[in-house]
Subunit: 501 residues, 2 copies
């Protein structure tokens, strides 16, 4: 490594330290902060945000980047050096291409939007949210022009969360499996008596839920010497360092699923972050490469592993020991079906594996139409309900359970939803590849052994951090870009069995 | 407020935000951080420290300060504006007068020193610590020259913690009450059968200890909407905002005192920070003015209130209800004496009210001699033991329980110890003044009412933040500088009664 490259990395580490400090303040805000700290904390976060941004777009950073780029021009594409320059150029570009005033206007509109949305949702009053959402859409549309796009302004947003992904590719992927999902859900509905969730909706003492969840994800390989779990209203995973990747969860006394599968989900994110190559620590490359790839890991460990029959053939006796009053008389198959019940529901975050992507498709199609103006904000609730009924067969009784349920649009997160669906597809696609390399994985899961699977993920995905884009990574691993077929195959096989289709 | 003054305050708030962010990282480091996070956290703290320092000494801040000073030259001495300029000038001077290289050398020597000391203490091997301590002393001596002093280099260190205090004043204060303390301790030793601590050394379940301590300090007026308590190895109080002032404590199952009185102690610090005038929030004036004044509050609420007979006449029935197995058969007087037992001991942090300042005097006199070179580092253990015996009548069996016990010197904190003793003196001095204004305070304490006392402290001390120095504040309140007589009077009256002298 040359001198100029090292100088760049040192500078990037300083910037990274500021960003990570901001993450720590944000974690504390959600986990510990007493009410009285809110106002000052917002100001502290804002100061750190500004400092980090200023450092990234400073002349000093640009000059270091230019010098380091010249010095490393012979670096291989997949080398750390080559990737560092490439990713940093991209980060600097994204941080500079939108005028400061527009960034400030968007930040303000989002802050206001979030407040208005929270109230509108509480009062089930979409009309109250309309002007704020319109303002956000107008500003985001301007932002798209500055960010740049080839086909569709929506691509500019997608690119921030899932670099390289485009609206037309998302549309093709969604169109390719929408009707199959709808058919699966309809087919299942004729056999709905085969699974019900009564057994997981008993009373489960929270201390025991916590201990059991921690035990499961410790077995997965989430390293608690380099992480911890706390409680928060909205569960999340957050990284302060490779050696300090934390998860949060939310416990529901009368429902086993949210904390148990939520813990597995966040641990999937956390293992990705813990598994980045140590040599990338402290640099912009030391994190997951895209939201979709990140979600592939959370969904893999939550659903593909955590809701599999093999997993529970090992884990269920332990769960019965933990909750004898609730589960002693419940056999494995009944429990297994109870955690894999498919049924259309209104709320995305509570959706099952099979209906989840349908929730996303509704949002994606409406977002696209909102961004172009083809759909007026005023007509959004009607459009939501119509589309929801056509995909899921039910109509939300209120906007609170419909168009107002998600925080995303009020926070300017347009183009974010498709990454959840991409995660579901990639989870199945990567898992298939892992099985091809190691056919013993399902049996190992049945014995509570997760090393082979986790190591395959670490070597093929985790260690690379942001060196490769999601597409590059998926091509390297599977020889093709993200596809929906493996996800559909996975669902069909699993639910044909469960529901006796 | 003029435009330039406002611009200065905005700049100082940004700097303050960076400092407070650093405090949050530090709190998390001590309370939550998994082991794996240590290395990255050190780097994050270092980055924030450098950024905050650079912002404070930047040309931008200096120019804003100069402009604001001109603009506010007519501001009264005790106005917020006048105080802001005065204190900021002082802060900028202190941050700039020591060359960057020396600061870096000291930081490095302290980091190394701390590590070497921890090992030396564990191995009871003072010789291993000698070179590191010598290096720290050499560098600190250079620092004193840059900081500046009139009489004694020690003044330069004292001035950082207790602005305006000098070594000669400390010496005068200590000489004025040393022999009285020694005599009191000797007198008590002849009646040592009057108090023993067996009752507080029973098993006290930690959950109940926690709940009882929180109840007591809530009654004091520590506002948990603007604070919280967590566990940490070394208890402390830390401020993130006026609305977020946190304390930590350490629980010992078999000893009631550490957590109970430790919680009162830290809550005393916290109420000071919570009580600063809201208009000072976010500025350099929003914190306690000196370590000594801060310690006056922790010692007041821990000892003057929390170890008083009036307090326990109200609190003891509640403590008995909380721990009936341990205390049902123990009468108030026995309990009261058990928490006020006087006996020479080796470890400062476990010392009682009467011997505490003697521990400080040992350290102060040795520090003075070390700084001038009158005492060689090599001779320090011998000097420690001799002086310890002459003041406390006992000789530490090992250096671990003697000269190696405190972290301070290894961390470059020369001149820090006297502030603890100043705190004890000021607690008695301020309390006497509060009683003069409100003679009903002791009776109110006996009814669990602390408003009058706390409000007196808030109005006379807390609200001013750093507007006044410790001397200015003490003069304003009591009409004289810090004195030791009130503290001695307080001890004599209390322990004459307890020990029937």
């Amino acid at each position: 490594m040359g001198e100029k490259y090292q100088a760049l990395v040192a500078r990037l580490s300083e910037i990274r330290n500021v960003d990570r400090a901001r993450a720590i303040l944000s974690w504390d805000q959600q986990v510990n902060m007493p009410r009285g700290g809110a106002k000052a904390r917002a100001a502290q976060l804002s100061t750190l945000s500004r400092i980090g941004h200023d450092m990234l777009i400073s002349d000093e950073t640009r000059h270091l980047l230019q010098d380091a780029e010249k010095e490393t021009e012979d670096a291989a594409y997949d080398s750390v050096e080559g990737s560092m320059i490439r990713v940093t150029k991209r980060d600097v570009h994204q941080a500079t291409c939108v005028p400061t005033q527009l960034v400030a206007d968007i930040t303000e509109a989002e802050a206001l939007g979030h407040q208005v949305w929270a109230e509108a949702r509480a009062n089930n009053n979409f009309a109250a949210f309309e002007p704020a959402l319109q303002r956000i859409l107008d500003l985001k549309r301007q932002e798209a022009d500055f960010l740049g796009f080839v086909e569709h302004p929506y691509d500019a947003f997608l690119d921030q969360y899932e670099p390289g992904m485009t609206a037309s590719r998302v549309k093709r992927l969604f169109d390719a499996h929408k009707s199959e999902l709808v058919e699966l859900v309809v087919a299942v509905s004729a056999h709905s008596d085969r699974a019900n969730d009564a057994v997981v909706r008993q009373s489960y003492p929270i201390d025991k839920q916590r201990a059991f969840g921690l035990k499961m994800v410790s077995n997965y390989g989430y390293d608690f010497e380099r992480g911890r779990q706390d409680e928060a209203v909205h569960p999340f995973c957050i990284t302060f360092a490779q050696g300090d990747v934390r998860i949060t969860t939310r416990f529901t006394e009368n429902y086993l699923n949210p904390a148990l599968f939520g813990t597995m989900h966040e641990a999937g994110h956390a293992m990705y972050e813990q598994g980045v190559a140590p040599e990338l620590e402290g640099t912009p490359l030391s994190r997951g490469t895209s939201l979709g790839v990140h979600e592939s890991q959370s969904r893999l460990w939550e659903n593909v592993v955590g809701r599999s029959r093999n997993f529970w053939s090992w884990a269920y006796p332990q769960l019965q020991d933990t909750f004898p009053d609730q589960l002693k008389a419940v056999d494995l198959e009944t429990f297994y079906r109870s955690i894999n019940r498919i049924a259309p529901s209104y709320i995305r975050v509570e959706a099952d594996e099979a209906t989840y992507n349908l929730h996303i498709m509704v949002r994606f199609e409406l977002e696209m139409a909102l961004v172009t103006g083809a759909l007026a904000v005023h007509d959004l609730p009607k459009a939501w309900n119509e589309r929801f009924e056509s995909y899921l067969g039910i109509v939300p009784p209120t906007d609170k359970e419909g168009v107002l349920q998600d925080i995303h649009w009020s926070s300017g997160l347009i183009g974010y939803f498709p990454t959840y669906a991409v995660g579901n597809m990639l989870a199945a696609q990567y898992y298939r590849q892992a099985l091809a390399a190691h056919p013993t994985i399902p049996d190992e899961i049945g014995q509570g052994k997760f090393d082979t699977l986790r190591e395959w993920m670490r070597i093929n995905i985790y260690q690379h951090g942001r060196k490769f884009t999601a597409d590059e990574l998926t091509q390297r691993i599977t020889g093709e870009p993200v596809e929906c077929g493996y996800f559909v195959d996975y669902l069909k096989a699993k639910y044909t069995d469960i529901y006796g289709l």
